[in-house]
């Protein structure tokens, strides 16, 4: 890497008032041809380019992004990372990602501020208790750490939770994954961008894809706002806009794009040192290193590409937050925003080849893609390089909607979609 970050580089640059840091990645014009083009410069797309270059030795790669890198859902999520999924296929996929997260800052030479502060999922009714206990057992069978906590243990782990039996949805217990936690989302995009760029990947921002050129069932290149770029392989990692790209080649995907909202409060002193999620009342909260409460709301129940979302969704989430955490009643919310998430009918992602040769899709991450960023990139890179899925993403192909082999995580994921 041209400019390795270390304590020494920090001291050296401090002496020159931090005015001489090298830029972390180039801003190249597109070449005429690439071996692989990744559409979408979010975390997943940049990670895909990074692992294509690092593990599969493909260096002639472009990542084209219509806005700026990490400006989409990578910069709009609530940064939660966990792998306590019910089904074997999902457990394999998300725990693969979690294992990469554990060494990611070293791998990228970029501090992604991965913090294993634990993720606790609360149960509010008897069915929740049964489902979460079942998931705990399933997790353990898949070698994923998970424990069941009773109400007193929940209170001990996170003292600000209202565990009174007299609230509308009392806390009957919860599960805890200690290896889970949070990371700094922007740093993930920047770290992968810097790492990929150092290996020769061209990251082309402000370059919108207008069309995909193909000859019969083989791709030939992409039409962009910066002209035509030739390639034999295209990896589409466009999140909420996956269907927009798919419609360019007359492919229909089983996706619906909806706004998902999050909001942060004014910064306060440390008050919650973990992540607490609650499926039944749809409230989840953690605290950023800046001190803001980071709160995730639900999706709007209709298709929309507006990155804002409805007021009533936020209102519903905050009602639940206030009942569970009365201490937050006088907090002021500072910012609210929405991201467009592409949701599959079974709430599991698609990392797959298509019937068009050289066209690959990585989409359908819905409301929970951030946690999978490194694993998704790694497996998608494998799929593109070998033209065959890795065994960990073989179940996440598009054909499962024809065969019926769905990976139904709707009720099993920690928060309702």
């Amino acid at each position: 890497m041209k400019n390795k970050y270390s304590i020494f580089s920090l001291i050296k640059n401090a002496l020159s008032y931090h005015e001489n840091w090298q830029r972390a990645w180039r801003d190249p014009e597109p070449k005429k041809e690439y071996d692989v083009i990744i559409i979408g410069g979010g975390g997943h797309g940049l990670a895909t380019a990074f692992y294509l270059a690092k593990k599969h030795y493909i260096k002639n790669i472009a990542v084209v992004e219509k806005g700026w890198i990490g400006g989409g859902n990578t910069g709009r999520n609530t940064t939660i990372i966990r792998s306590n999924y019910l089904w074997d296929a999902s457990a394999g996929l998300y725990d693969h990602a979690l294992k990469i997260w554990e060494g990611l800052s070293q791998e990228l030479n970029y501090n992604v501020m991965f913090s294993q502060r634990g993720v606790m999922n609360l149960a509010h009714n008897l069915q929740d208790v049964r489902d979460l206990k079942r998931r705990t057992h399933a997790n353990r069978l898949n070698d994923i750490d998970a424990v069941w906590l009773n109400t007193e243990e929940v209170k001990k782990f996170c003292p600000i939770i209202n565990t009174s039996p007299n609230i509308r949805y009392p806390v009957l217990g919860g599960t805890l994954q200690r290896r889970a936690g949070t990371a700094r989302h922007d740093a993930v995009a920047w770290g992968y961008a810097r790492g990929a760029d150092a290996m020769g990947v061209d990251i082309i921002q402000n370059c919108e894809v207008k069309g995909i050129k193909r000859n019969g069932d083989t791709v030939e290149g992409i039409e962009t706002s910066k002209g035509f770029i030739k390639t034999k392989k295209i990896g589409v990692v466009a999140a909420g806009h996956s269907s927009v790209i798919a419609n360019m080649v007359d492919i229909k995907l089983p996706l619906e794009s909806k706004p998902l909202q999050a909001l942060v409060s004014e910064p306060v002193k440390p008050i919650i040192d973990t992540v607490v999620m609650s499926n039944a009342v749809h409230a989840y909260v953690s605290q950023s290193d800046k001190g803001e409460l980071v709160i995730g709301a639900g999706t709007d129940a209709y298709v929309s590409y507006t990155q804002r979302g409805s007021h009533d969704v936020v209102e519903g989430t905050l009602k639940a937050i206030l009942e569970l955490y009365p201490i937050f009643s006088r907090m002021k919310m500072l910012r609210q925003w929405g991201g467009i998430v592409d949701i599959c009918p079974d709430a599991s992602p698609i990392i797959s080849k298509t019937h068009i040769k050289g066209l690959y899709f990585n989409c359908g991450w819905g409301t929970g893609g951030f946690k999978a960023t490194p694993g998704s990139g790694d497996l998608f890179a494998h799929t593109i390089a070998n033209d065959e899925p890795h065994k960990l993403n073989a179940d996440f192909n598009i054909n499962r909607f024809v065969s019926g082999d769905l990976v139904d995580e709707h009720g099993a994921a920690a928060v309702a979609h």
């Binding site: 806009h241 269907s243 927009v244 419609n247 229909k252 995907l253 089983p254 996706l255 619906e256 794009s257 129940a301 209709y302 298709v303 929309s304 590409y305 507006t306 409805s310 007021h311 009533d312 592409d342 009918p345 909607f401 024809v402 065969s403 019926g404």
Partner: protein, 91 residues
Amino acid sequence: MFLINCPYCGERDQSEFSAGGEAHIVRPKQPTELSDDQWAEFLFMRKNIKGVQLERWNHSHGCRKWFNMVRDTSNDKIHAVYKMGEKPPIK
């Protein structure tokens, strides 16, 4: 968040309504003769358009009637509302 002009009740808040997805996807007349591909197409595959889309909506916290809507998903603007069974008005 927006207002929806229910063809039966008039203008109401969007939170009173439930979206029913893409409109004019016809239920197969001969379900027993459908292939797996055709079932997948009917059940799961959607255009998911960014732009003007035809949709079904239900006034679930009101008259509970279904109707159709022409809506631009890129800015949530509603161009027209029309009843079930009617042809979509030309936008």
